[in-house]
């Protein structure tokens, strides 16, 4: 009962303050960004600059097949401005290096093609057909994008010169070497013959939905860590902590009520983002317990960190470093093939994974419940340590 009244009092104070509404405002802004700026299937920004050293009829014939199949869509010509530049190009196969210097700017109208993903209609890449080899080199150099010079040989076969930036991995370079070693038709036929076995669900989150687990992890759960510290130092500055000593509330109740305020705020702000974007897809019965357990755990870590310092600015270094460390699994989340073992030890790593699982709507229920219990128990343990520290220091 005492706990509930302490929580009610803390909640009233929080709602009188500026921060609570900022949190709601930011959640609304994030929602608008997700709904307006992030497309479900965004077009790729990849560009490719190509020069075909062949008769125009040959180039037309080459593209006609893909245009008919709907894989390539011609677009309006694009005006491209090339700035003065100088650079050297090394032919890795012959070892020769050629230097180029272009003293003046040049404007061209490039014939533009868009490669389309036939499954979802999004643009996979934009291809610019250029008139000279030098234009390809200039644009590839200035933009850092892929370039290719394709020549038609005497026997009617194409030979390719790819333009690398220099930092590409050896594996990618090896792939480019063999990429056009056989005709596309032969390769496509062989690819269609490949046997594929899927182990689980084929359901994927689209680009907009994919952002949701990251937003609720970093702007939701993790924020509790930062905000609970701010609340605590505010109370210290205002002398509320000293007043606590003459009330029947214990330090434990005080700390718990602070974390409950954070949990309520995160619950509201996360719902603002999740419900409109995901609709009925997620399993909310698993989502909310997991959200609350993780927010509680981070708030407890925040309280423990705060117990070592007596002002916000002194704790700022540790706070900042921990926040950045906790955000590192975000790289692994967005770059699927980047998943070093050491990253799995960060608490935000399983959080992102579980939120994604919940958003997909078919979560591994025992796993999610175990993870929720793990964060809850872990959070309680950390809170107990923080409580002991605060009790000893008396001043909180």
């Amino acid at each position: 009962m005492k706990m509930l009244s302490t929580y009610r009092k803390e909640m009233k104070i929080a709602m009188r303050g500026f921060y609570f509404y900022i949190e709601i405002f930011i959640a609304v802004v994030m929602l608008l960004i997700l709904l307006v700026a992030i497309k479900e299937n965004p077009d790729s920004k990849q560009r490719e600059y190509v020069f075909y050293d062949a008769r125009p009829e040959v180039v037309e014939l080459l593209f006609a097949k893909y245009i008919d199949e709907g894989k390539i869509v011609p677009a309006a010509d694009t005006e491209i401005v090339m700035k003065p530049a100088s650079f050297a190009v090394k032919n890795r196969d012959t070892g020769s290096t050629v230097s180029y210097s272009f003293d003046s700017a040049k404007t061209i109208m490039a014939r533009t093609m868009r490669e389309i993903d036939v499954d979802d209609g999004r643009i996979k890449k934009t291809i610019f057909l250029l008139d000279t080899e030098e234009d390809v080199l200039r644009l590839s150099h200035s933009s850092g994008q892929v370039g290719a010079i394709v020549s038609l040989g005497d026997r009617g076969t194409f030979s390719y010169r790819y333009i690398l930036q220099g930092y590409e991995t050896e594996r990618l370079t090896n792939l480019l070497y063999v990429y056009n070693a056989r005709s596309v038709d032969v390769l496509e036929q062989e690819m269609d013959r490949q046997a594929v076995r899927e182990l689980g669900s084929t359901e994927r989150l689209n680009a907009r939905e994919s952002a949701v687990p990251a937003l609720i992890t970093f702007a939701g759960s993790l924020m509790g860590f930062f905000i609970v510290m701010s609340y605590l130092f505010l109370d210290k500055d205002q002398g509320v902590i000293r007043a606590l000593a003459v009330t029947p509330a214990t330090v434990w109740m005080y700390l718990l009520s602070k974390t409950m305020v954070i949990m309520t705020t995160v619950l509201i702000s996360s719902s603002i983002v999740v419900i409109p974007v995901m609709g009925l897809k997620p399993n909310y019965l698993l989502f909310y317990p997991f959200l609350l357990a993780t927010t509680f755990a981070f708030a407890a870590i925040g309280l423990l960190v705060a117990s070592f310092f007596d002002s916000m600015s002194k704790s700022f270094g540790v706070l900042y470093l921990l926040m950045i460390a906790f955000m590192l699994p975000g790289f692994s989340y967005f770059i699927g093939s980047f998943d070093p073992v050491w990253l799995r030890f960060f608490p935000t790593y399983p959080i992102l994974y579980v939120f994604k699982m919940i958003m997909l709507g078919k979560p591994d229920v025992p796993y999610v419940l175990t993870a929720s219990a793990g964060f809850l128990v872990g959070g309680l343990a950390v809170l107990a340590i923080a409580n002991e520290k605060f009790k000893k220091t008396l001043t909180v």
Binding site: F18, I26, K314
Partner: protein, 333 residues
């Protein structure tokens, strides 16, 4: 006047040394730079992963290693467990007459296509020796992802300086030292400049050291310092506004979160928005700072473009400063 400003700078530096704030401002970005240095190679080598069995043919394993990161497993069950993990990896197991590709099902379609493509190359017996392609290279050494991380680090350093100003002022308000300034010969402008000087010097120093650690030695330093200095101006104005407008640390913390929004939004906008939607970010000075840094760090910058970016950062910053000046003065009074 300059002597008084320098006195405030010295006082701040002294106070900062006492509560390790200066060490934090300088050490933190450098620690992050070292982190990126250790972290970036892993990210740039993020080619496709293929899982094979240990008793798979040596020829097949060697072939796949040419094009993908290969992981070997003792049994099909072990391989399937690996495929079922969170990251993206495709397995390949020989099932007479050919290889079967095993995927989880929810991966990026590119992974399955890549695995199919590699297996097709192997089935058709295509090797590098068959290739007629040639590779031309500009021999650039810095991958774009590293440049993006470094660019974010620079903005983070600038933001850190703003946050520290904001929190410093809130604490000065709590200690009532702000009012004391009004009875000293230091003008309000002098106080603002003096109070910002520590952040400017330490942040610029940290930017330079971090870039040196990260191997960006041959960039145009004048350009990078110019962009850093101008974008820092804006952060300081925001830092002052937040500090003076906030009565307590919780309000300052809320302000910090508000500042993170345009910074993160500018980076995301620059990186993710299609060319035709880039204009929607033109209002943000952080967008122009990020763009300028991106061009400078990737050595694609020219003075006219950098000056336009710097001019826009400066112009928007000045506009905000002029609009905020009455509030800053009121806050200091």
């Amino acid at each position: 006047m300059i002597a008084k400003i320098l006195r405030i700078f010295r006082r701040d530096a002294l106070v900062a040394t006492r509560d390790s704030m200066l060490i934090l401002i300088i050490a933190m970005p450098i620690a992050l730079a070292v982190g990126i240095l250790l972290f970036a190679p892993g990210i740039t080598d993020s080619s496709v992963r293929i899982g094979l069995l240990k008793d798979d043919g040596a020829e097949h394993i060697a072939f796949m290693e040419n094009y993908a990161q290969v992981e070997l497993f003792g049994s099909v069950q072990e391989l399937e467990r690996r495929v079922n993990k969170r990251d993206e990896i495709a397995g390949m197991v020989f099932m007479d007459p050919g290889y079967e590709i095993i995927v989880q099902g929810d991966e990026d379609p590119g992974l399955l296509n890549y695995a199919k493509f590699l297996n097709s190359l192997f089935t058709l017996g295509i090797t590098r020796e068959d290739a007629t392609a040639q590779m031309l290279s500009f021999e650039k050494t810095v991958p774009p992802l590293k440049t993006k991380l470094v660019n974010m680090l620079i903005l983070m350093m600038i933001m850190l300086a703003g946050m520290i100003i904001s929190l410093g002022i809130v604490e000065e308000k709590a200690d009532n030292t702000i009012n004391a300034i009004n009875v000293t010969p230091v003008s309000q402008n002098g106080f603002i400049v003096g109070k910002s000087l520590l952040g400017v010097v330490s942040t610029l120093g940290s930017i330079v050291v971090s870039l040196l650690i990260l191997g960006y030695r041959d960039i145009d330093w004048l350009m990078i310092l110019l962009v850093g200095l101008t974008s820092m101006m804006l952060t300081f104005i925001v830092g002052f506004l937040q500090g003076l407008g906030s009565d307590d640390v919780i309000a300052a913390a809320a302000g910090v979160k508000m500042t993170m929004l345009p910074i993160a939004g500018s980076i995301a906008g620059y990186e993710l928005l299609a060319e035709r939607w880039q204009w929607t970010m033109y209002w943000s000075p952080f967008y122009w700072a990020y763009k300028a840094n991106d061009l400078i760090l990737s050595k694609r910058a020219d003075w006219p473009t950098v000056l336009v970016c710097v001019g826009l950062v400066l112009g928007i910053s000045m506009l905000i400063f002029i609009m905020a000046m009455p509030k800053i003065r009121k806050g200091l009074s």
